[in-house]
């Protein structure tokens, strides 16, 4: 068997580009250069520019691979210059999937902020694919303004699915916004699940992660049931280059999702 070079990015074409917000875009790739399970991530290469890690936002069961990406710096800016038909590179899948077996028969409480909805969408679609196994799925999502909400067209469809409960909030509303206003914790005042058994899954910007985790611990979720996406600097994705380490964990290999039990003794784990 040929040895697979883990550093080689598989060339893949961009099929479609879907703007989500002024700074966030979904890139639909042509086919599936890699397989993955919800929670795992990939390294995307912009040819000649470099790589950055991203989690697929599409269902692991879907035909095409999708990523929802926020423009923040060098690699992401180069990515935003690309057009349908252009080629990028994909390496992966890396890291551990969400333990979906452990979520069976339970209420699942998902909390997201900003572009953090990307990996959560993949998780959500994987759960919906086998919805009979789960008791109920809750999503709590916060964005800065109504304009900054991702998947605006899809959310109303998801809200119609049986056993799915979605609540949104924005930091600052506008004339058209009829929903909640305030930071994410305003929709976490009421926690409608059995905190003794329910897993809760969180992804968002560092400060949001910090405050949401505090709130979830306070609400009584078990430390080992709080699943947190860790954003760390990454280069290799395979536990060799050392960049992603937080405490004794290699986020690329042991994560990218760690539980509060794993990281609660680390000072400022989200930064």
């Amino acid at each position: 068997m040929a040895v697979i070079n883990p550093y080689y990015p598989i060339p893949t074409k961009i099929k479609e580009i879907i703007p989500e917000t002024p700074s966030i875009t979904t890139f639909v790739l042509d086919g599936r250069p890699i397989d993955f399970s919800a929670g795992q991530f990939a390294e995307l290469t912009v040819p000649g520019v470099g790589e950055a890690p991203f989690t697929p936002s599409s269902s692991p069961y879907a035909e095409d691979l999708e990523f929802t990406i926020m423009k923040v710096g060098r690699v992401t800016s180069a990515l935003f210059e690309l057009k349908p038909g252009d080629s990028i590179g994909v390496r992966g899948p890396f890291g551990k999937p969400y333990p979906l077996d452990a979520f069976k028969k339970k209420e699942i409480f998902i909390v997201g902020g900003g572009v953090g909805f990307a990996p959560l969408r993949s998780l959500f679609l994987a759960l919906v694919h086998n919805i009979k196994h789960y008791k109920k799925i809750y999503i709590r999502y916060g964005a800065r303004t109504p304009q900054d909400i991702v998947y605006k067209k899809l959310i109303p469809e998801w809200q119609k699915i049986d056993k799915v409960d979605i609540l949104l909030t924005v930091d600052r509303g506008d004339d058209s916004w009829k929903g909640k206003v305030g930071v994410i914790t305003v929709i976490l005042d009421e926690i409608p699940v059995n905190v003794n058994s329910a897993p809760t899954i969180v992804c968002g910007p560092p400060l949001m992660m910090k405050f949401v985790t505090q709130r979830l611990v306070e609400a009584g979720f078990k430390d080992e049931h709080i699943y947190l996406s860790m954003e760390k600097n990454m280069s290799c994705g395979i536990g060799k280059c050392n960049h992603c380490r937080v405490g004794k964990f290699y986020v690329c290999k042991d994560g990218p999702v760690l539980t509060w039990k794993d990281i609660k003794d680390i000072e400022e784990p989200f930064i």
Binding site: P6, Y7, G48, G73, C236, C241, R245
Partner: protein, 334 residues
């Protein structure tokens, strides 16, 4: 244990024979330091096996400061050179052992490291004259090889007394059997004496052991101790780049004709941008935190994974430090 004696007048023949397969780097004394120098039949052969580890870092041979790890979109094969390292010291073997665990034992394996490692023959030499900077004995290593190399030798009066550690090593002895002779009991005795004396010298250099529970003590250090330890540091990073166990790297892409080269370059955790993430957040913005990360990496985390320290006691960080910071002093203070 089986021994093989290479008489002094056959060393050159042996090296010449080995060099037919690929470059042989043997230890040579220059400007007071040993270096692994490429054997050249047209130049004087000046081996020096008594001195301590080479000034340069052995990791160059397995994880060069810049090396291509992939080419894309055309997935061209990347070759690994055949090479022989002759006269490597025990501390540097521990460095290779640390790399073997990271790149070969931990899944997934790194095929590029593997290819280099497989194409390299490591022949180690006992270390009879430790220097003041050496402290292999404090990190659980003897000044002579006990594994990892393919072959090891002790320099004795009558020549080099070899033993084998791997199949590769046995094959070499077989291939060159005409050069070797049967040692006698006196030769083995001589080896024992040389080793015992080296261990005694190291004990005299480093009388004090590191404290029990070092891994935990490093993790629980108080901020004041870190501040004192790094006080004189000028952030030149010499300690990182000369260290045989530091392994951090970055992948960087360069256009080359129609293809793109993905190059692995050494990185160091003392750089302020090392752990910075998109958007500018930085988990270790203060130099104190970065300074101590090196200690955590080597003495706490690697120890938690593998029950050995990712420090070989080679002392390169001490001898290269402009501020004369001695890692031993810092660890003794804990």
């Amino acid at each position: 244990m089986k021994f093989y004696l290479l008489p002094s007048n056959k060393i050159l023949d042996f090296i010449q024979g080995l060099s037919r397969k690929g470059p042989v780097y043997y230890s040579q004394l220059r400007d007071g330091n040993t270096h692994l120098v490429r054997f050249d039949p047209d130049k004087d052969f000046l081996p020096e096996f008594k001195g301590i580890r080479t000034a340069e870092n052995i990791k160059h041979f397995f994880l060069p400061s810049r090396s291509t790890v992939a080419r894309y979109p055309d997935d061209e094969k990347i070759s690994a050179p055949h090479q022989v390292l002759f006269g490597v010291k025990s501390c540097d073997l521990r460095g290779v052992d640390v790399y073997d665990r990271i790149f070969l034992k931990w899944e997934p394996i790194d095929p590029l490291y593997k290819a280099r490692r497989e194409n390299t023959i490591i022949i180690s030499a006992d270390c009879p004259e430790p220097a003041d900077t050496c402290f292999c004995n404090l990190v659980g290593i003897n000044p002579y090889a006990e594994a990892t190399a393919d072959l090891n030798f002790t320099e004795i009066e009558s020549g080099l007394l070899f033993e084998t550690f791997t199949k590769k090593g046995e094959e070499i002895i077989k291939q060159f059997q005409d050069l070797f002779t049967e040692p006698d009991k006196g030769d083995e005795k001589e080896r024992q004496m040389i080793r015992r004396s080296a261990v005694q010298k190291l004990r005299a250099i480093n009388e004090k052991q590191f404290r029990a529970g070092l891994a935990q003590a490093v993790e629980q250090v108080d901020e004041e101790k870190v501040r004192q330890a790094r006080d004189e540091c000028v952030e030149c990073l010499s300690c990182l780049f000369s260290c045989p166990t530091c392994y951090c790297f970055l992948l960087a892409d360069y256009k080359k004709g129609k293809n793109i080269e993905r190059v692995r370059v050494w990185d160091g955790c003392y750089y302020s941008g090392y752990a910075r993430v998109g958007g500018g957040m930085n988990p270790r913005p203060k130099f104190d935190e970065r300074f101590w990360n090196r200690f955590l990496c080597k003495f706490t985390y690697f120890y938690q994974y593998e029950e050995i320290y990712a420090c070989t006691g080679c002392g390169r960080c001490n001898s290269g430090c402009m501020a004369k910071i001695d890692i031993r002093e810092i660890l003794w203070q804990l």
